[in-house]
Symmetry: C2
Subunit: 580 residues, 2 copies
């Protein structure tokens, strides 16, 4: 099954979300640069990365003699990818990057991951490390590591999780001690470390959360350290082996090509580390890289949804079974209404999630010029991460269903998408954590004005629909959805200080309501633009926005009820009793 | 992870659904027989079958030298299971069965499959073969095969699918020719044959759909044949090897312990087969066994949901992370509202689906005495199959999520539940086929009075809620759900003759609406009974019914809108264009 990045959809969505965010760029939206970059990225993703996807699933990453080997072909592909300059697309020009917009990079991230989720994951971590180091690293550290990370010659990792410290990062125990020469010595064990070891590059830059001896308990006592696999020598090349080693690999449901490592620091006296930012202020530094990584994981959700949709569509066009409503027999199953519903659900969710993720990237692009854009990006990040990854799993599951019995056979490839997708709602902060983040930290941003401004923007789209004769039919369900979202938003703000437990209990349906409603508005806006510009695909875009409004956005009211009226029973102490 | 059948819940549900169906039995609902049978089945499922589940996943079924070997321990467990008489629980006493009610057997099927889906699948097929043979077989065939099938000494299979004939059974090409002595000679290839070969028993009784030379095209030209792996000799023991062989095994996403075979008939001149029922009337015979099999697959959905829920609950009670709303730190994650929401969603869906499946079995139990019960069982079968298996997948996926990162690690076992569950919405008629069956064949039953009578019964539950001070709070969301279901039912009936394509396009959300609403009413009825009887678990049952009503039943209105207003865009010809 070939994967082909949907360039036309991506460009259209990029243009719409940039316009809505007021984030047009110097390079212009339809400039030669944007189009050329995306076209070339699409070619690379399709021709070089996509063929690695099944190889990676079958071979997996392997561990022998203390070193991880990636699946056949991965090393060469990674090298070609970095040599083409893709790793530093959005990185600062000062460090060898191209300084291109986040929106452009978002579209590229989607492509790499649509081609192979397990392969596309490595650069996401490197980009996070670049971000953290750029924002918080000392000049010495920047000069030693940023050029290598930006070029992709070295990759980055994030070492947060420990057996007792998952979502609760503050419970971590890895220790760091001051050596006296400005460096630190780290000892401890970390689990679930993505690309903790591999053979793609000749060095790895680990960012490690650890605790100093005099650290206060919890998250206020965590510091961030840079711990290279090999300490750079005088020429900046990998020198002495540092005391950080892979101990074992996890046997996972999916993304087999991506090594998930248990890492041990200090088996031989301690790993040498260098402080990033200030002592005890590591969480703030880590969040710098986590926000970007969360958006990237949302894009992974879009990517796997796109790939699953393409594969299901191709199958549904080829596979003939039964009689179509028009009498054709045997008919391609794409003619059967129930199969069409599945395919349209997949397509509609994919495009809605893409728009939310690109809108988040567009807000990030605006942060340099617009003081409000930072709050908007922060607001949208948990929605982008959780909504896009939830639908990623749902769409991949529907993709299996479209294939019928063939979907359950591994050789078909549809099952791999579900296996791969299933990690996305878990890592980089579970989707439950995202929902809590949205309700407890993001709704209150700027005294609650950030979310109101965003809802006003969405309402503006609905108002435009009402004023447009060709699209007025989309307005009723989206109006109802906006009403539900506004009401739930107001109630959440009221509950948060008075009954936080009720707010937390409603957080997940609230986030889903937010995502479903925003997604419907973005698709409607795409339909509006396509209609006004007499785009060649206007009828299709109007049709898909209509499908979404009448089949998906209609869930908004029920979600609003669950978020508000449903919260009390979640906390009913009679429920979930320990019976044995 | 131990699996423990939830005897208390099962018995309570059994009693309620029997009472609602007016299907009390001579043995009484709380008789010693019912309780003793279920307690002993639970012990067997927990102690003997459950330990096979992971072994089966890891080893899988293997093919060598033309024969399939089941995973280590499976053969002994199967033998012990048949020797204890479990296979013939609901089979006719005339053929060595125990003639116990379908409801009792349903609870047992749930247990075997909760212990291991891949193991529990084999008997489901045997039960289907018993059903078809009892209803349509000649006396000679019955005497030769039924005692062996009822005891479980031999297993049964269903050979329907061919590469070009999946959901479209009428497209099958396997040929049968009259030999002249009353027997037939079959040639052809069948795919996706569950337990098509194995070493659990020394013979296998294949039921094969094939086409006679003078058969009319499509489903009206299909005949059903019994094709034993070994032809019984004069003493009824496995004699000459028949010309039906396993050619290969599928490499599947889940249920690895269950061999899924490609079967070849007639490589050496033709497999000997015996007609069941009349020539060209095989579809009717096959439906006899498929309806029971569909209910059994629904029960598989309940089973995997129950097992996933138990595992997630156990993990959530042990795993400590973060601060609970009451200040405890580190707190078991079950104290976090968002985790509680996931667990309660799992539990509520599981119990609702169980009630729908048991209600279907209760209707089957009534068919001998009540002429309307047959229509009710037919009406509920597609809902039981599709709703219970859809929630089976959803609950298994939530089970992974509750585990966080551990859920993605295969050793945890949560991932296996999702992999195993994913076949359930596909086999025995995809859930799309179930939805179409519900709308096009089941709603019109008895001129539409069957569904109306059922909705009246559900409305009766809601009326009882309103009259009960302790439970009146449950009434509003269930009343709204019933309104949505009634309206959609009436509209579907109207559309079916006038705009069948629109009816088909809304079939899947309609079935979900049906399942969600019925499930909410059953849980409310359990709460009512528990409240009136001052059951020790009354507060919990009321709480769970409330959670369901305010978090799940509230989706009904949106589903009704999708089923009705959403249908037009599904069939919009501008959508899903072939662009390349």
């Amino acid at each position: 099954m070939t994967f082909r990045p949907p360039l036309d959809d991506m460009l259209f969505c990029l243009r719409q979300t940039r316009a809505l965010a007021g984030a047009q760029h110097a390079d212009g939206d339809d400039s030669d640069i944007t189009q050329a970059v995306l076209a070339e990225a699409a070619r690379f993703a399709q021709e070089v990365i996509a063929p690695l996807n099944r190889v990676g699933d079958i071979h997996g990453a392997t561990l022998a003699n203390g070193a991880v080997t990636t699946p056949p072909g991965w090393r060469d592909a990674y090298r070609a990818w970095t040599e083409a300059g893709w790793n530093g697309l959005a990185a600062p020009e000062a460090w060898g990057g191209q300084g291109l917009p986040h929106t452009l990079n978002a579209a590229c991230i989607e492509m790499w991951n649509g081609a192979s989720l397990a392969f596309g994951l490595a650069p996401i971590l490197t980009m996070g490390a670049i971000e953290a180091l750029t924002a918080h690293g000392s000049d010495v550290l920047k000069q030693a590591y940023l050029p290598k990370l930006v070029s992709g010659a070295w990759t980055g990792t994030m070492l947060l999780t420990e057996p007792q410290a998952g979502s609760d990062v503050g419970a971590l125990r890895t220790r760091a001690e001051r050596v006296g020469d400005g460096s630190y010595r780290l000892t401890g064990q970390k689990i679930f470390i993505t690309y903790g070891d591999h053979d793609l590059t000749d060095n790895i830059v680990h960012l490690v959360l650890a605790r100093l001896p005099d650290a206060p308990p919890g998250t206020r006592g965590i510091s961030l350290f840079l711990v290279p696999k090999f300490l750079p020598d005088a020429d900046g090349r990998p020198g002495a082996r540092n005391d950080i080693h892979v101990h074992s690999l996890e046997h996972k449901l999916g993304i087999h090509g991506s090594p998930t490592c248990t890492m041990v620091l200090g088996d031989n006296g301690g790993a040498t580390g260098f402080l990033i930012g200030k002592e005890h202020r590591g969480m703030a530094c880590m969040f710098t890289m986590m926000n970007q990584a969360r958006l990237a994981v949302g894009l992974q959700g879009v990517a796997i949804a796109e790939r699953a949709t393409q594969q299901a569509l191709a199958f549904a066009r080829e596979r003939k079974q039964g009689r179509a409503p028009d009498g054709t027999m045997p008919s391609p199953i794409i003619a059967h209404p129930d199969v069409r519903r599945m395919l349209l659900t997949m397509q509609a969710f994919t495009r809605a999630a893409r728009a939310i993720c690109y809108a988040t990237a567009a807000a990030l692009d605006r942060t340099t010029t617009d003081p409000d854009a930072d709050a908007l990006a922060s607001l949208l990040t948990p929605v982008a991460k959780a909504f896009a990854t939830d639908i990623g799993v749902e769409v991949a599951s529907l993709g299996i269903q479209v294939h019928g019995g063939m979907g359950f056979i591994e050789e078909t490839g549809a099952a791999q998408h579900l296996r791969d997708a299933r990690i996305l709602p878990i890592y980089e902060g579970t989707n439950g954590i995202q929902a809590i983040d949205l309700v407890t930290r993001k709704l209150p941003l700027n005294d609650g004005t950030a979310v109101v401004a965003y809802l006003d923007m969405l309402d503006g789209i609905v108002a435009s629909l009402k004023a447009d004769t060709a699209l007025a039919a989309l307005a009723p369900p989206l109006t109802e959805a906006m009403t539900a979202l506004r009401q739930a938003t107001e109630q959440m703000a009221r509950r948060l200080p008075n009954d936080p437990s009720a707010a937390l209990a409603g957080a997940t349906p609230y986030l889903r309501l937010f995502g479903i409603t925003a997604g419907g508005c973005y698709l409607a806006h795409e339909a509006l633009t396509a209609s006004r510009e007499a785009d060649t695909r206007a009828a299709e875009r109007i049709g898909l926005a209509t499908f979404y409004a009448y089949n998906i956005a209609v869930q908004a009211d029920g979600l609003g009820q669950a978020a508000l009226d449903g919260a009390a029973s979640v906390n009913d102490p009679h429920l979930l009793p320990r019976t044995e």
